[in-house]
């Protein structure tokens, strides 16, 4: 199944989102031949208790093909029990963090503790490097995620599946060594925009089996992210890996 690893549902407080319902997401995926998605709650980013947003998300996506990705802010108390309950009641398929919004370093004790627990549950960690172009933010300015910190973090956590969401072309290039050397490190396609032939260029140095399709819909235009892969002059086999094969390695092992 073609899979989107970076789908969002809920309210984005900074501008009107015209396509924010589950029905909209399903239609956009259908129109673009995506059959499955890892979905997380935008509300959970902003709620004092992120789990309340995940309860909403569970109600929305229950009975669909979407895999629930739990939002965790590891600087808050109680997230260990949230993960436990998320596994039990939502069958969560990953945890997503937002260090730029929740203001912590990736190499902090809290995140390392989170990683230990995710290893125990054999759940992947989705790291949101950014959501919006920093230049376009309004009211809340997210703290830029330090790429040196990301590099150090992924080397410390080699036994965990980690998906970096919304990396830019030049950031992927800076992480070239990590992408090659760390078999459980991945990045999604949602942030690849800052040059022509972006995927063709990346594939000269990044292994094809580390790239996952991600839309960041509804914040981003799904058609843009889809066509970045579909219209690239790359092997059909590579496209198949990006859309459907690579993501299989994220599936829960237990």
């Amino acid at each position: 199944m073609n899979t989107d690893v970076n789908a969002l549902l809920g309210h984005w407080p900074f501008r009107k989102i015209r396509k924010q319902s589950l029905k909209d997401l399903m239609q956009a995926h259908k129109d673009n031949h995506i059959q499955c998605g890892y979905a997380s709650s935008m509300n959970s980013i902003f709620y004092n208790d992120p789990f309340e947003g995940d309860l909403e998300l569970h109600e929305w996506i229950r009975g669909t093909n979407y895999k629930h990705v739990l939002t965790v802010n590891p600087t808050l108390p109680g997230w260990e029990k949230d993960i436990e309950e998320g596994c039990r009641t939502f069958n969560i398929q990953g945890v997503r963090i937002y260090p730029g919004y929740h203001d912590y370093a990736l190499c902090s004790d809290e995140v390392l503790q989170l990683c230990d627990i995710l290893k125990r549950y054999e759940l992947p960690l989705f790291v949101t490097v950014r959501l919006e172009d920093e230049r376009l933010e309004y009211i809340v300015k997210s703290k830029p995620v330090d790429l040196n910190d990301v590099q150090q973090f992924v080397r410390m956590e080699q036994d965990l599946d980690i998906v970096l969401l919304n990396l830019r072309f030049h950031e992927v290039m800076r992480m070239e060594k990590e992408m090659i050397e760390l078999p459980r490190l991945y990045f999604d396609t949602s942030g690849l925009k800052d040059r022509v032939f972006v995927l063709e260029e990346l594939l000269k140095s990044s292994p094809a089996d580390k790239i996952l399709y991600g839309s960041e819909y509804p914040l981003y235009a799904m058609k843009s992210t889809i066509e970045l892969v579909q219209m690239a002059q790359i092997d059909e086999e590579v496209k198949r890996k990006i859309f459907k094969e690579n993501v299989k390695r994220l599936e829960r092992r237990q």
Binding site: K16, R135, L136, D194, V196, L219, A221, E227, L228, Q233
Partner: protein, 247 residues
Amino acid sequence: MIIDMHTHIWGGRYELHTRELVENCERFGVDKIFVSGIARQYPSAEEIEQHNADVVRFKKEHPDLVEGYVYVNPRNSNAMDVLRRGIEDDGMIGLKLWIATYCDDPLVYPLVEQCIQYDVPILLHAFYKAVGQLDDETTGIHVARLAKRYPEAKLIMAHLGGNCYHGIKAIRGLPNVWTDISGSTFRRDDVDYAVEQLGSDKILFGSDMPGCSYIVNLGQIEEADLTPEQKKDIYANNALKLFRLSL
């Protein structure tokens, strides 16, 4: 038909960038590109001359594909002569102003007055930023001021003004301002918002290649809630009318 009215040759990278532009056009079926040469924020007269020479050369190499903007640094003492040569001698179809001055700086006034005489549009870089705003970097507010001062001028606020909610609100209701969707923003709702606020006849299709992906902007138009006629207007008809071109 697709006209990408906002592309560049970055200074010193003529071979690479022109090859990438042509390859993109061939691969994605772009019928026409409007090109300007840029590089440093405050280019010298010599640098400006080279940028414009690059565009003229590219036009000559691909006359059916390429149209050019003459790029001017209003701070340079020969700015008016650069504009004159670009339009009268080199057949450029518009003026490009970037980040050397705000677009409503008095240094710009004579250039605008001359463009009114030539009846050519002016492409204005405009980007309102939450972080990293440059000195002398135009936003929609500057574009609006210029538009009100010169209602006969044809102004294009590039990149939807960066953050479209800022730029579009500034220029809304000004009949002599158009905007383009070029640049490195992915957002799904920007085009719908722009059309709601300005009307589809004020929106032009551009990409900002080669520094940005053409596909991102194509996807934004394809996904927006537009009629087939509105898409045709944005992809080409609006640019044809504004620049008085026929293909």
